[in-house]
């Protein structure tokens, strides 16, 4: 029976000088993964960051990530490239109309407490420019 494919978000950190390898190409060609890049900053001779969704079977994703790690790339499954600081947030809600995926939304409309759903964030960064309290910041 064929394994079912799923999608998961990953945050990759590239140490200096590992940035010239066509890693994404290999993920697609050799590991049969579908790649959806949200945001990337990969510059030769500098540290790099890549935030992407990988879609594939559990086996293919595990093998693909194993390949990625051979380049000393750190794979973070919990983290994304956008930081939301709950302490700085005053729950004004100014970010809501600017967030296209409702990653930032009220928990409920009565108490109007803002919450951040990292899984829904596509890293458009519009909250970074729109939060008056600098509660949203980009890691890179």
């Amino acid at each position: 029976m064929a394994e079912t494919a799923f999608t998961k978000k990953y945050f990759l950190y590239f140490p200096k000088c590992e940035t010239e390898k066509p890693i994404v190409y290999h993920l697609v060609k050799d590991y049969n993964l579908m790649v959806n890049i949200f945001r990337a900053k990969v510059t030769p001779e500098e540290e790099g960051y890549l935030v992407l969704d990988l879609t594939g079977t559990a086996g293919d994703i595990a093998r693909g990530l194993e390949f990625v790690r051979t380049f000393n790339v750190t794979v973070n499954e919990q983290s994304i490239g956008l930081r939301w600081d709950a302490e700085r947030c005053t729950h004004c809600g100014n970010c809501l109309p600017h967030c296209p995926t409702r990653a930032l939304d009220f928990k409920d409309r009565t108490t109007r407490e803002v919450r951040f759903d990292a899984a829904a964030c596509i890293e458009c960064l519009s909250c970074v420019a729109n939060c008056p309290f600098s509660a949203c910041a980009s890691v890179f």
């Binding site: 005053t90 100014n94 108490t111």
Partner: protein, 398 residues
């Protein structure tokens, strides 16, 4: 029906019945106005939003040898020194020296007077750099030192325009994004921004300034402060709805309190992309239930408070006077308003969540007998309208 003295006697005996401006709505509906007015002593109102007209007077004390200080920078933010020796006024919107402002539009406005104020209230160290011209009594001509809030003799927040009674809802009809003090407005009426706590906001609960006036004790960011005057741009003579509540700006309050007693949670610097720096502040004001008319007005609800929608692409900057209609705070708080049949997403710069928390905190203070209500020494004017600025030709050269 009740006097200030009777209400304060109950507060001091810890027997006062206090409800927030949100709780009072259902309470009045359930009990009826007359019974509720007899039972309830105080309604607490609150707001937390950017209040640009904020600042503080600081007194540094004297160094040896003394300096008058005629120019001063606090963490590189210019403070006003045209007052007595070692006194300065730091304004919230003042930018840091060298900030490119909107030279590269939209500017980020990362740091200004509000950030210095926030740092001070958090107890952090701030740099003072001062210059002077030197006098026989104040010979020193330059000073650089570091201080915290504790080191100052006085740090008095003095805000000439806070607590706007009501405010515009901003939209943008143009085909480009614009950056305003009401945040980023996307083209083609894609979003709307408002800035009021609506049914919780102090002057929306006391629309004719019957209990909130000069001398009223207020909760300002955790400190007990006072209303020291009508705020700048106070204009009671504005369009009002059937319930007497203004549907546009209306009244404002001038507030003051000791910064040393403030809680940093409620003093928060604001950076508005493409506009500038501001300061968000928590304000709580108790309304004594002197009679059932006052209670009726304090039980106002979002669906009965209107705000005027204004196009910030053309009408606001050019002061055309044109408006795009009116919406209720109930609609605004739903996150979507309707403008000429078009659905527009609405966001707020004022935090209802924080306002609610402040109303609860003030309620707890009053219930514990620590915060009494005060009779205003002077009422705020209800009949004054807003004057525009005429651009006149010089009489001599015109």
């Amino acid at each position: 029906m009740k006097t200030y003295e009777e209400i304060n006697a109950k507060i001091e005996a810890k027997k006062a019945v206090v409800l927030t401006a949100e709780e009072i709505i259902d309470y009045v509906e359930k009990k009826g106005l007359r019974a509720a007015a007899e039972e309830v002593d105080v309604v607490t109102t609150a707001t937390f939003g950017p209040m640009c007209s904020s600042g503080c007077f600081l007194n540094f004390g004297h160094s040896s040898p003394r300096i008058r200080i005629s120019e001063a920078w606090l963490d590189d933010v210019r403070a006003y020194c045209g007052i007595a020796a070692v006194d300065v006024y730091l304004g919230a919107t003042e930018l840091r020296q060298g900030d490119p402002a909107n030279l590269y539009h939209p500017g980020e406005f990362r740091f200004g007077g509000a950030h210095v104020i926030e740092k001070l209230v958090r107890g952090e160290k701030v740099q003072l750099f001062g210059l002077s011209y030197g006098t026989d009594c104040y010979p020193r001509r330059e000073i650089r030192t570091w201080f915290t809030l504790k080191d100052l003799n006085q740090a008095i927040m003095t805000n000439p325009r806070n607590c706007y009674q009501n405010y515009n809802v901003a939209v943008n009809s143009s085909d480009r994004t614009i950056y305003t003090y009401l945040g980023q407005l996307k083209p083609g009426l894609k979003n709307a921004t408002y800035c009021s706590a609506g049914q919780l906001s102090p002057l929306l609960n006391d629309p004719f300034y019957e209990t909130i006036g000069v001398g009223t004790r207020v909760w300002l960011a955790g400190a007990q402060g006072i209303v020291y005057g009508e705020g700048t741009q106070h204009a009671g003579a504005v369009d009002r709805g059937g319930n007497g509540v203004p549907v546009e700006g209306g009244g404002t309050l001038a507030l003051t309190a000791d910064m040393k007693e403030m809680d940093p949670r409620w003093v928060r610097a604001v950076s508005l992309t493409g506009y500038g720096v501001s300061l968000s502040l928590g304000v709580g004001i108790p309304i004594p239930v002197l009679n059932k008319e006052i209670l009726k007005r304090a039980a106002v609800r979002d669906r009965d408070i209107l705000a005027t929608v204004v196009d910030y692409a053309t009408d606001y900057p050019n002061r055309t006077g044109k408006t795009l209609g009116r919406v209720t705070y109930e609609e605004l708080r739903s996150g979507e308003i309707s403008l000429g049949g078009k659905k527009v997403e609405a966001g707020s710069l004022s935090s209802y969540r924080y306002a609610l928390e402040i109303a609860e905190l003030l309620k707890a203070e009053i219930e514990a007998g620590r915060f009494t209500v005060s009779r205003p020494v002077r009422r705020l004017p209800v009949d004054r309208s807003f004057r525009p600025l005429a651009i006149k030709e010089s009489e001599r050269y015109g």
